[in-house]
């Protein structure tokens, strides 16, 4: 079965994620598969994504923690290091992974990536170019995306995301 023999480390990490969530981040394992997490990250304040609610999915492969978690955005996002399928270009998810890192640190790094896009290591060449040549305009585009997404979430509340969102805005 999918959830038998779940390593102790994963159980510990999950408990802590649920009992002491990092600000602006929620992560909860799916019922059918304890290695598969529904993740929600709020757009950091003073970033172009402020006001946006971003849904992600995270999976701990069999080799975890010797291999990095797999993470991607399910919400469309305009960002130089995130491609159209939501795949994230972030060193700690690839060659800079270390078993000393955790789900929590990965999600905090992704949150930080929203505050500080890295146009020198782009997945999306067009957006990176846009960012480099006209940061103000790119920031505006990001803000617009976040705004539209926020509207959509308010209009179609689903699962725990709407709750989180409501708290964030009340």
């Amino acid at each position: 079965m999918a959830n038998s023999n779940l390593p102790r480390r994963i159980i510990k990490e999950t408990q802590r994620l649920l009992s002491e969530p990092a600000p602006g981040i929620s992560a909860s394992p799916s019922e059918e598969n304890m290695r598969y997490f529904n993740v929600m990250i709020l757009g950091p304040s003073q970033s172009p994504y402020e006001g946006g609610v971003f849904k992600l999915e995270l999976f701990l492969p069999e080799e975890y923690p010797m291999a990095a978690p797999k993470v991607r955005f399910l919400t469309k996002i305009y960002h130089p290091n995130i491609d159209k399928l939501g795949r994230i270009c972030l060193d700690i998810l690839k060659d800079k992974w270390s078993p000393a890192l955790q789900i929590r640190t990965v999600l905090l790094s992704i949150q930080a990536l929203l505050s500080a896009p890295n146009p020198d290591d782009p997945l999306s060449e067009n957006i990176a170019k846009h960012w480099k040549t006209n940061e103000a305009e790119a920031v505006e585009t990001g803000e617009l995306t976040a705004f539209l997404l926020a509207l959509r979430h308010k209009k179609f509340p689903s699962s725990h995301s709407s709750l989180l969102f409501a708290n964030f805005y009340s």
Binding site: A2, N5, S30, R35, E57, P61, K70, L85, R87
Partner: protein, 155 residues
Amino acid sequence: MTIGSGGSSVVVPRNFRLLEELERGEKGIGDGSVSYGMDDSDDIYMRSWTGTIIGPHNVSAELSLISTVHEGRIYQLKLFCDKDYPEKPPSVRFHTRINMTCVNPETGVVEPKKFGMLTNWQREFTMEDILTQLRKEMASPHNRKLVQPPEGTYF
């Protein structure tokens, strides 16, 4: 680690499984006799795919005189991976016209009842496996001599 297997107890969820298949497809498989790619690079759920099969040369090296009618032909197929993939197989249909026992002659749909891999589907099977198996099927005794529609015609 091979695609989809992930050991006995770890289940790779649908989306991450399809991302693995996408990356494998992008790198290119073997000698290129089968290949596949995603139709809509904006579809976050990665549902629609196009597969290509290059018709097999002949039945075997020993029987190299027995050629197939499919030799060198290029067949395009559509594969659709729904939300329940890979618990359930994708739906598969030929876009390029073909005369084959497991393919509906009107629609191009690969009939699961006549194509064992879809009937006896297992979670660890991939789109690559389907294409490879269909290619083998083209070279089987009941398919390799069937009269074929003109090349480059579509369902």
